[in-house]
Symmetry: C2
Subunit: 482 residues, 2 copies
């Protein structure tokens, strides 16, 4: 029965990209909208995003940040104030030129990110050292017009959060940059069960306008990397053109030091590609829109008995905070429902029929491996949360193990190119720090340096650059990326 349903999805081995599109569309997480490059995030996908958002938001607040909201538009003159920034974003920016039939005197860009709009506000808000630090986050939609799009991973409009902080000292801003990267790492691992590599981006890959960019990089099931979040140390690159100054305790005027950091709806795609299998999605319990689905199994004569018991179990689990659904639809047979909820990736399924009631137990099935257990009815409110916690742990461990297996080391560009033809993944290699090597690798293999990891980037004795053959400055992580 499960097999029959699975036929609707392309298998991962056959065509991973097609599997991804199939599973997103068929589980109704999202679909393509009438506007090129934009998607409709459907309720099931949005519920996952809401849970990711809430998990992140809780952490931002616990680290002293508050939310605010800034305009969607920025005047052209603002965007141009930071030279690298405008160069990086201008080609992808949509321009508003008219309202109704009236032309605007200055055309307006739709925000690709809000540094310039927010810096204009900060220049007004910040006057004294007493006004610092400013620790603000914004949840918003942004637009970067993309030529090639992929649901959740790369769309012309997407939802994200962008933290924008201003500090009195460089040290404090650098500390904030690192703190938020760590919040991202911890949240991705704890909540999304998605292990990531933390490190610094190369000059070539850093954010337009930043002094330094740090990233968390996930490795998906197909061996492609996903830049899952970035944290930027902006130095005074924006403070100076926007005039964000404060009177310090020593009575001198100084520019603030800034950071910005963001994660987006692409995390939803990351979750799908980290855990999903040929039967569909697998939702990590902590962020699963539905954690447990109850399937009552009955015939005419046992219907009332079973449905009432299923409703009681549902209410009991709800009462202890489990996100649970009872699928009592009569037009579908249990097998059909099992498959549907498996495709939707619900972590645990509880089956209950008249015989189970007689025996005083239920059948509990894990989505991950279809492991089956008979759970005494009286123990459900303990065993279900336990099973959810164990599944969360198992998913993270499985992803970690896979990441290790997909990570190898190469010494030369030839080796990298050959390896990539067989199997994608993370590739450690020596790098002399030159842009030439980055370009040569990209040109031949489409791989880029994902980051210079915090751990393991010290070159081993005698390590050479994989292209130039010069002594390696860093040991870095190459991969093809979404």
């Amino acid at each position: 029965m499960a097999k029959e349903f699975v036929k609707e999805l392309t298998s991962q081995a056959e065509d991973f990209s097609q599997w991804y599109i199939d599973v997103i569309l068929k589980t109704q997480m999202a679909d393509y909208s009438c506007v090129r490059g934009c998607m409709n995030i459907r309720p099931y996908g949005y519920a996952l995003w809401e849970n990711i958002r809430d998990a992140m938001d809780k952490r931002f607040k616990a680290t002293g940040h508050v939310n605010a909201y800034f305009p969607l538009f920025m005047p052209e003159s603002f965007l141009k104030k930071e030279a690298e920034h405008v160069e990086g974003f201008a080609p992808e920016v949509p321009w508003v030129t008219h309202v109704g039939n009236e032309p605007l005197t200055e055309r307006l860009a739709i925000r690709p990110t809000s540094e310039t709009i927010i810096c204009a506000a900060y220049a007004e808000w910040i006057q004294s050292y007493r006004d610092l630090p400013v620790l603000i986050n914004q949840w918003a939609n942004v637009v970067r017009w993309e030529k090639r799009t992929r649901l959740f991973l790369r769309t012309s409009e997407f939802l994200w959060q962008e933290g924008h902080t201003a500090h009195r000292t460089e040290d404090e801003a650098r500390e904030e940059t690192m703190k938020m990267l760590e919040v991202y790492r911890e949240c991705c691992e704890t909540e999304l069960a998605m292990p990531v590599m933390c490190g610094r981006k190369t000059e070539k890959e850093k954010f337009a306008g930043a002094v330094e960019t740090y990233s968390i990089e996930a490795l998906l099931k197909d061996g492609n990397a996903l830049q899952a979040g970035t944290s930027h140390f902006l130095g005074q690159n924006f403070a100076k053109p926007f005039g964000i100054k404060f009177l310090d305790e020593d009575n001198t005027e100084k520019f603030v030091w800034q950071t910005s950091w963001g994660v987006s709806t692409r995390l939803v795609g990351g979750v799908v590609m980290t855990h999903g299998d040929d039967s569909g999605l697998i939702m990590p319990p902590r962020i699963a829109p539905t954690q447990v689905v109850i399937i009552p199994v009955f015939k005419d004569d046992s219907k009332t008995l079973v449905l009432e018991e299923a409703a009681r179990i549902c209410a009991e689990l709800e009462a202890i905070g489990v996100r649970v659904k009872c699928d009592a639809r009569e037009e579908f047979r249990p097998g059909y429902k099992y498959n549907e909820w498996e495709m939707k990736g619900v972590p645990l399924r509880v089956e209950i029929g008249p015989k189970d009631i007689e025996k005083g137990h239920v059948v509990m099935v894990r989505r991950l491996d279809r492991e089956k257990a008979f759970v005494p009815r009286a123990e459900l409110s303990v065993r279900i949360p336990e099973a959810l916690a164990r599944l969360q742990k198992d998913l993270l461990e499985a992803a970690r193990k896979r990441q290790v297996e997909q990570t190898t080391e190469v010494a030369t560009l030839d080796e990298l190119a050959e390896a990539l033809e067989k199997k994608r993944g993370f590739f450690w290699a020596g790098w002399d720090g030159s842009a030439e090597t980055e370009a040569a690798v990209k040109e031949r293999t489409k791989a880029s340096i994902r980051n210079i990891p915090f751990e393991g980037s010290e070159p081993t004795a005698g390590m050479l650059d994989l292209v130039s053959g010069k002594p390696a400055k860093h040991r870095v992580l190459f991969a093809r990326a979404y």
Copy 2:
């Protein structure tokens, strides 16, 4: 001391509009942005909006709705599909004509509301009666370019939610329209302590594209009305041009019946103008960003004692779910802090000094009327929630009483015009149902029919239209509105 601080705000009696701007700016709820007509919602204002949003969202989910997200843009051809709709919104719509340096083949409108985008998706999603009802809500930013703006009440970009539902039958859609209006009423009264009048909009005032529009109308302290939320029965006005059809159980193809409904960040302005006084904001406890502020009062020798006790109280209140802040800043004196938090409208203030500790009590002061009570330390965790609940109730009652006092009845246009010169408010009057009367009243007094209330709209015996003198069809509510 309180007086001194208040001097910074224009008094309500002197100039209510200026008081409103003063209080929004000085409490840092919002300010004007660099883009004309758009505002920066600052953290304090956003925190209030977050609480309103969460209170609404909880109710939407409890009534079976789910959230989703649709694109910011719509192709010009889509906006034009419903004739009245495009006519109503086209003059305020910003147009995107270019991306980077490339002109678009079809220009894109930025959503003023999402009926057309969402209907295009529903036409794909809905095939069978089994797909119905669709009960979706979206939290999003929308843009309606405004000539005259006012912080929160009328800005070119604003945040809102828009529910969009599709149903099998007309009855079901009508029931949904009413259900959501009632959700709005209940939420505004319970959470915002803002009483509203529920009723049907006239033909002239209804939503562009709706069959019928219903509204909740608040009456603010200055006697101006605020349309605080609307719920539209769309009939099949969108279903037909967008082709949203389903195969019904009887095997015939039918068009769906639709509703849409929305509230926005203007509710923040409503809260400010419903409760605020000459000392500043008054936040209803249920949605107050901070419900209780603790002010430790100490000298050098009592500092440790008092600060430690204040921190303990803070932790205790937090533990029972009270949103509490301890203001331990040493650079400001207690009086300064009292005034600052009064202006910010924090419902309760707790003062604690060495003598209070000795006596085993704290001083609790209500923002509303500065009522002062000595509360035994041991009773705090009971008395504080009680005091918050009582204040919430008192605020609603005070607003209700004020609304009654500001509501009168007039028989003729002359009477209405004279009354409005003295004092604004709600004015009951007879209406013959004609657009001519509406136009004549608007022309002379700037007042409009806010709605035809569900209660009290039956004309009394012999009641006449206030302009035409013809027999009244309805007894309706006139007011000047924001």
